[in-house]
């Protein structure tokens, strides 16, 4: 088994940059997913939030730590995203930041982020939320320390929401009618994790 990555501030900055770019590119797709089983704003929310996060990170001094970078991004996400995903993603990034500054270890940080989402939102795997992408991804990283495998697990997890009936979030109002649609938050989670792979690889290369 590989060793868990110890992302530095540069990797974290690159992650936020890459994530913002991917969310901007996929904004309309994510919003469309949310139109089908939610209120049609997820892509726009997250795009607004990620642009603010990117700005906040760029406004940070050169000396900021990895943890400070994620904390700043998380705070901006909370301040600008709104909706359910704002506090959830913002809370996750802040928890990851705290964890990184303590341990420096990505596995621990990912677990901390996932715990934050689960604690804030109360959702478990199978509820058709971002947790369905996040939890398997974190588990995969814990087991393999392979970022590609982790990103694939997130994607597979996101796809698994297609057949689920939502029990949390706005899609839950649809009951049976939520089946047959991807969860927008799970889709964006897969995208954010994929951005992390790219960031880690590009910075190292």
């Amino acid at each position: 088994m590989r060793e868990s990555v110890r992302p530095d501030a540069e990797v974290c900055r690159a992650w936020v940059r890459e994530a913002a770019a991917r969310v901007a590119a996929d904004r309309d797709r994510l919003t469309q997913l949310d139109s089908a089983i939610g209120d049609g704003d997820h892509g726009h929310n997250l795009d607004r939030g990620m642009r603010a996060a990117l700005q906040a990170v760029e406004d940070l001094g050169e000396t900021a730590t990895a943890g400070e970078v994620l904390a700043a991004a998380g705070k901006a996400l909370i301040a600008k995203t709104g909706g359910a995903s704002g506090p959830l993603y913002g809370g996750a990034l802040r928890a990851m930041g705290r964890s990184l500054d303590e341990s420096g270890d990505l596995a621990a940080a990912l677990r901390a982020g996932c715990d934050a989402v689960r604690k804030l939102g109360g959702a478990a795997v199978g509820d058709k939320t971002m947790v369905d992408a996040l939890e398997p991804a974190v588990k995969a990283y814990e087991e393999t320390c392979d970022l590609e495998v982790t990103a694939d697990a997130a994607t597979t997890g996101a796809e698994s929401t297609m057949t689920l009936r939502a029990r949390k979030g706005r899609a839950s109002y649809l009951g049976e009618r939520s089946v047959g649609h991807l969860d927008p938050g799970a889709a964006s989670t897969a995208l954010l994790i994929r951005a992390l792979v790219t960031a880690a690889r590009d910075v190292r290369a």
């Binding site: 139109s35 209120d39 049609g40 704003d41 709104g82 909706g83 959830l88 029990r167 109002y173």
Partner: protein, 329 residues
């Protein structure tokens, strides 16, 4: 998309600037995105703060003023507000005896208000939160997100606002808001979807001969589609759903609420059907007919019913002076 706006991203602050110009009795922070009553903070009075996605006007900004809310925090269109603005509003109206957050039960609203309440507590402000979840269209269980908050929000804001105006304490004001919520139920019917400025497309497609039963106020699709039917039948579907959950008798407060794009005459047609259906079984002691909890330009209506007690009726009748509700002074 055809809208009277400047740019989609400016709708919320632009509308707040208009609100400020139209209502000198309010103090509006268009950048910070909240509106407070002009005389806030009112010393010794429990302050009421509510908020939620924009696009539901007059909810909540139209209900700020003596006898109702102390502050409202509008989020982006159909998107819950963020903790910063809720915190700023909370601090701006805190009169020293605590602040009540009236929160519609949506995950986003719940989380953002929760974060704001924690931040307010850090600053030494006592905050209590009451969740409004009156929409019977949604399955209610501990395993789900629970019911949505819709029309009962207006009732709770008005009645709790009246009690706060009488200088009741935070526990009592919170308790009466909870009581209103428990005694209220809502059900919505959409004839067509809303178009959010940012996306420019209707939130869902509804064939010309179908309605969405149990629709949400953020353009969430409802639970079931049914053929377009006469007003009497649509009202019957809504009231049947409500009565399955809350038997109706005694004195009622009834609102027939427009979704935004439905003419007032149609709302009166619907209200006439509500009155006809309840005749002999319950008394419509008070009523509201109009656009109170809208969903942008969605067409359709919702019905909200509250089983009044004499005390709730007294508080409903108490003076109120806001842009959208005004009586008794």
């Amino acid at each position: 998309m055809k809208k009277v706006i400047n740019a989609p991203e400016d709708v919320v602050p632009d509308a707040l600037r208009g609100l400020a110009a139209a209502h000198p009795g309010l103090r509006v922070d268009a950048e910070g995105r909240f509106a407070v009553r002009g005389d806030a903070p009112v010393r010794g009075k429990v302050a009421l703060v509510s908020g939620g996605g924009s696009g539901h006007e007059p909810l909540h900004t139209g209900f700020v003023g003596p006898g109702m809310l102390d502050a409202a925090c509008p989020g982006e269109v159909f998107t819950s507000p963020v903790p910063d603005q809720i915190l700023a509003a909370t601090l701006a109206v805190n009169g020293g005896t605590g602040v009540l957050h009236l929160v519609k039960n949506y995950t986003g609203d719940v989380l953002n208000f929760q974060l704001a309440a924690e931040l307010a507590a850090d600053e030494g402000v006592a905050v209590e939160s009451v969740l409004i979840d009156d929409d019977v269209a949604v399955e209610d269980s501990t395993h789900t997100a629970g019911r949505r908050g819709t029309g009962a929000t207006v009732f709770a804001e008005k009645i709790a606002g009246a009690l706060a105006e009488e200088r009741a304490g935070l526990p009592a004001v919170a308790a009466v808001a909870r009581e209103v919520n428990e005694r209220s139920r809502s059900f919505g019917v959409a004839l067509s979807a809303a178009t959010v400025p940012a996306t420019g497309r209707p939130g869902f497609d509804l064939p010309d001969d179908q309605v969405e039963l149990g629709v949400g106020i953020h353009g969430e699709p409802g639970r079931e589609r049914a053929p377009l039917a006469p007003a009497a039948e649509l009202v019957d579907r809504a009231l049947t759903a409500i009565e399955a959950d809350l038997p109706l008798s005694g004195d009622l407060l009834v609102m027939v609420n427009g979704m935004g794009g439905t003419p007032l005459a149609e709302l009166y047609v619907a209200f006439g059907e509500v009155a006809r259906r309840l005749r002999g079984r319950a008394t419509i002691a008070r009523s509201l007919v109009g656009n109170y909890v809208t969903s942008l330009d969605m067409t359709g209506f919702s019905i909200t019913v509250c089983r009044l007690t004499p005390e709730l009726l007294r508080l409903w009748d108490a003076p109120v002076e806001t842009p959208a509700l005004r009586w008794g002074r």
